[in-house]
Assembly symmetry: C2
Homo-oligomer: 218 residues x 2
DNA sequence: ATATGATAATCAATCGATTGATTAATTGAC
DNA sequence: GTCAATTAATCAATCGATTGATTATCATAT
């Protein structure tokens, strides 16, 4: 981020506005249901600027995917970096990651548009996002697998380890995706800090239980 | 279901064909992205028949929701019925439900269109589906919560119990929703019987571990 | 400094295509 | 003959994309 003292060159401002608006609208309604007119209106820009800056609606989607990938690798790239060598360190690192995941994906208001867009791309991947999976997601997943292996004594790349990590991720993203039935059944009107804390407690308890059980098996 | 020996009254045949086609197309591409023309073509029916039989595209969606709700309550209504009175019986019932969930939602080819439509309605609920949540989903969730409580000694309607059941559901539906990244990371080309069995093993292991841990707490 | 020309950015207007919906005419069973 | 079911044709509305004209920005020459 450059200090805002240097106002962005005229073009970059609307480009950024379009990207932010697209992330929001794509995430809210899905790619097909989102209209370029609505995005342009939200960005206070002319419709033609989408084609000018991104080549079209599909290009705008690809730019959103790249942006999401950059932000994600920025967050998790550093968060998962610290030296981890013992089983208890690995367990603590996994718990920290799960906590960060619940807060970032389920609770954080600022990250909400990003998370919503990301989860839509997960269930309906665009060609552009397939690349993000390989370059951004797979290495991150592999790193979490190594933590899991270190904490349990299992093999880092065994089928069970990889699927267990997916099951951990599942519990986090579910509360974002299935927000409607969760709110209804829990009698909540929103997922605020208190609700996120309750979810976090369950996810962490499940993580501990799964690590213990896997450790006993290995 | 009336025996097919009595050939359906002329109208009901195209009505059923439209419903099946809509379930498929809505599930594949989402409600907004699905066009009535594509649905009509898949059902070998005229576009106007959608308005004639269902009142419009939205009515077709509502009819799909009702159909899904009917099928679901038919499946789970009987599957969760058997008398359960001891903790070990409850644990066995939960494991059976998890197994049925993985097979029905993740693996079963026949149930795939239904599952895909259902999961789309979960993340983007239509007004018609809100009713399904209350009348169909919430009671089922409550019943699973009673099983959970019986198996662990926790309170059936405690926040922790209800969230734990959601976390169990999460692991099942995730492998349907996030199929693309899972296939990529696992090096699979599809989720067939073998892959479903591997997923099932992880989900069941996590269920056992969570039940044990919860039982120790309560 | 200032004028000039090139480039980048923005705009209103409009394009053909496709959307969901509707109409009027036709079919077919009883 | 009657009426529910079906069809082809058409509706207005909206979609993403593109156009040509206009404005802003900046490097360069003087």
């Amino acid at each position: 981020m450059k200090p805002s003292s240097a106002p962005l060159p005229r073009g970059d401002a609307t480009r950024a506005a379009l990207l932010a608006a697209a992330l929001q609208v794509f995430g809210d309604k899905g790619f097909e249901a989102a209209s370029t007119r609505q995005i342009a209106a939200a960005a206070r820009a002319n419709i033609a600027m989408i084609a000018y800056h991104f080549g079209g609606k599909e290009g705008l989607r690809a730019a959103c995917a790249d942006h999401v990938a950059a932000v994600l690798s920025g967050i998790f790239g550093t968060a998962a970096a610290p030296r981890v060598e013992t089983a208890s360190q690995a367990r603590a690192a996994l718990k920290a990651l799960a906590r960060a995941g619940v807060r970032g994906i389920v609770a954080d208001e600022a990250a909400r548009p990003l998370a919503r867009f990301l989860l839509r791309e997960i269930s309906d991947p665009s060609p552009a996002f397939a690349r993000v999976f390989e370059t951004g997601f797979a290495p991150l997943h592999a790193r979490v697998c190594r933590l899991w292996a270190l904490a349990t004594g299992e093999e880092p790349e065994s089928e069970a380890t990889r699927l267990s990590v997916f099951a951990l991720i599942a519990q986090i993203v579910y509360f974002r995706i299935a927000r409607a039935p969760v709110l209804l059944r829990m009698g909540w009107s929103e997922i605020g800090p208190n609700q996120a804390a309750a979810i976090e407690a369950i996810v962490l308890a499940n993580l501990e239980a799964a690590l213990d059980a896997a450790g006993r098996r290995a």
